[in-house]
Symmetry: C2
Subunit: 428 residues, 2 copies
């Protein structure tokens, strides 16, 4: 165990630089905790000449991450480039093929190719660790894989995209609309290059699919996550929710049902007083429910240089200590195929719609809901000066499919103005 552990780091953005800094600044601490020296051998990034506020001259430079991944003098390939395929995927495959362990923060790559990569890793007796891929600095992967390994997990829930949570909590706090806050996030650099990754729920969906795989012994299956973004949430919804004692959160839920593994990432009304309801700004939170442990709540910063680098380091330290756990907590060939999310667990729904201002409009809406067995808990029509009337409906617990059929039928009645907004109510 006294041999140094040699690292090749590909990608020197915020997180990569954060990892380099920790490895340079905490030599003694890391040696005490791992019993060996952690060394950077070589690095790789797109631009060799950019100023990165950290000295890189001690390390070999590779312009090609694949060449870095294959170097004889590295033990771990640390992939911090990002991108779900292309160079990151090629270099990761090259590293595994060469029998190197891989530490990555790349949720997109693992969400799409996680099972394939885990299989390759096992053939080569190599590891993939990815604590930094989910919920930044919160040790949620290790908690699931190790701390709660004696449990049959029944449900994993979480708020795992800080940008969405920032937008939603700011709408609530300041009364500013979605569009203004979206623009602010763009200016602050809070948005991914493709903003749909954030506001469309894709990034959070990637993370959920990784947690599902570990929690339920399933193959990662991002395509099966029922995805919905926050783009349609209006200030009105935030205010109505508040009025009823709720907050709106982009909530991921993965749970095992009798019909199979349910995975969804969508805006939900959650009780104001619940830990998730109280989550502010860019903070992430994951709730894990196990048959023995009950409910565990983990919260903390979901992004940023320090928190993400902290998670990357925990994986490097794990490997340095000789810990070798299968990528998803059990051998890849024991992971079951889960398939598309079945009809989701029934829940109450919040519906906001606008009706043509004509006699009997409200009755027609109530009728189509009733025909599909969707029963109404409360319904409110607002005072209005325009030609259409805003209506708010909260249903009793209902099947989502029934609700969708009712909404289709509602369109046929010709009393609707525009498309209704529906938001699930998750009483947790």
């Amino acid at each position: 165990m006294s041999q140094p552990l040699r690292l090749g780091i590909a990608g020197l953005g915020t997180v990569g630089v954060g990892v380099v800094k920790i490895l340079r600044n905490k030599v003694d601490l890391l040696r005490q905790r791992t019993g060996r020296k952690l060394l950077i051998t070589a690095v790789s990034a797109r631009d060799a000449y950019k100023d990165r506020s950290v000295t890189l001259k001690d390390y070999a430079w590779e312009s090609d991450p694949v060449a870095l991944a294959q170097r004889d003098d590295i033990d771990i390939f640390v992939e911090l480039m990002g991108g779900h395929d292309g160079p990151a995927l090629n270099a990761t495959k090259a590293a595994l093929a060469a029998g190197k362990d891989v530490v990555t923060a790349n949720k997109a790559m693992l969400a799409h190719f996680g099972h394939e990569l885990a299989t390759i890793a096992e053939e080569k007796a190599a590891l993939i660790r990815f604590e930094a891929a989910v919920a930044g600095g919160i040790p949620v992967i290790k908690s699931l894989t190790e701390g709660l390994a004696g449990n049959q997990i029944s449900r994993v829930m979480g708020v795992m995209n800080g940008t969405c949570n920032y937008i939603l909590t700011q709408m609530q706090a300041t009364g500013r609309g979605y569009d203004a806050l979206f623009k602010e996030c763009a200016q602050l650099g809070y948005l991914e290059a493709d903003p749909m990754l954030d506001v469309g729920g894709i990034d959070a969906g990637h993370k959920l699919s990784l947690l599902s795989a570990i929690a339920f012994g399933a193959r990662v299956d991002f395509e099966s996550v029922a995805l919905e973004g926050i783009q349609h949430i209006a200030l009105e919804d935030i205010e109505q929710a508040d009025d009823m004692g709720y907050r709106i959160k982009l909530l991921g839920v993965a749970q095992m049902t009798s019909a199979g593994l349910e995975q969804r990432m969508s805006p939900c009304l959650v009780p104001k007083e619940s830990p998730i309801g109280q989550l502010e700004g860019g903070t992430n939170m994951v709730v894990i429910e196990g048959d023995e442990v009950g409910r565990i709540v983990l919260g903390g910063p979901g992004a940023g240089e320090g928190p993400t680098a902290s998670a990357v380091m925990s994986d490097i330290i794990e490997i340095a200590r000789g810990i070798r756990i299968s990528t998803f907590g059990q051998p890849a060939n024991t992971l079951v195929e889960s398939g598309p999310s079945p009809s989701v667990t029934p829940a109450p729904y919040y519906i906001r719609l606008r009706l043509q201002d004509q006699p009997g409009a409200l009755a027609k809406v109530a009728t189509v809901l009733g025909q599909e067995g969707v029963s109404i808990d409360r319904m409110r029509q607002y005072g209005h000066s325009e030609e259409t009337a805003p209506v708010l409906i909260v249903t009793h617990t209902t099947d989502r499919n029934a609700l969708d059929i009712a909404l289709q039928n509602m369109h046929k009645t010709d009393v609707l103005d525009g498309t209704p907004i529906t938001i699930r109510i998750e009483n947790m």
Copy 2:
């Protein structure tokens, strides 16, 4: 790795039985997650004939836990007897001497003998794991030791005694007094055989000393924890705190200061809106602050069969997977001696006292505080019908030593009736 892992379990109370049940009911899941079979070889408990709602006939019975610990056919000695010395300590030492790994839930034993046991373990290349000793099912030990291992930890805080938190939250919620709730806890079986372990803060102090050791690379030093129980908290304090936007919690804080390691477990006023302020009933919460990660919050059930057995199982699974981390996260001989908690970090304090109803009494109190540089933020004298007047003082941030001297001097003034109650205000 395909050899079965053989367990000897000493102590068949709630937790021991919970562990036996998991090992009997989850054979396939455990084998998938560890790659090997987990077998109970032998068990030990005080009463062989008690009905424990689980079949024990498949296992050898040892009436002496030391004999169990020394059996050739066990790999791990699972110590769930409790008690800080006596049989638990003897059997643990015997197991380590025989080179067996030890999994224990025994915070009292480790708080008193943790460093000695860790040293013996290392000499024998054996391990001690104790996830269940702190905060029940919450994987806080693994989070500190592994998930946050890339951080220099600056502070660990936590509410780690469910009984105290139950009493304090019930006082708040129901307006019932401490004595009534203490009696209720006794009837409900929420109290340890020696209730001072709970309400005196000893149990929570044990846990804090274990977290400190890991977080700060220090030898466990329970004697250095500044301890204060909740026995003196009156309904009046709860109400006054509420009025000012606070809750009273039995809060543990360990932090590295320029003067050394500060460890204290005492009732504190914490902001109502903070995650710890909102913690209800028997739930535990630990907050960890690291230089890279910022602030991580971990919450969940702090006691009970399922949660504690879940934590014990996570340690057994860790060893089954071949993970071998030093008892306190780094070699025992690198752990530094910390010594008595230095003068604690300055803070505002809440003081409740009763004054003789005589002219100038309030002025005398204000004067002795001022003489020690303790400045008053607010002071209130209540209406009263008795001969003494209740007075509430909230100080500005002050040194605890200065406050203690002022309180001594206050006694000399002869205007006091009884002893003032002081509670630290922790704004987090």
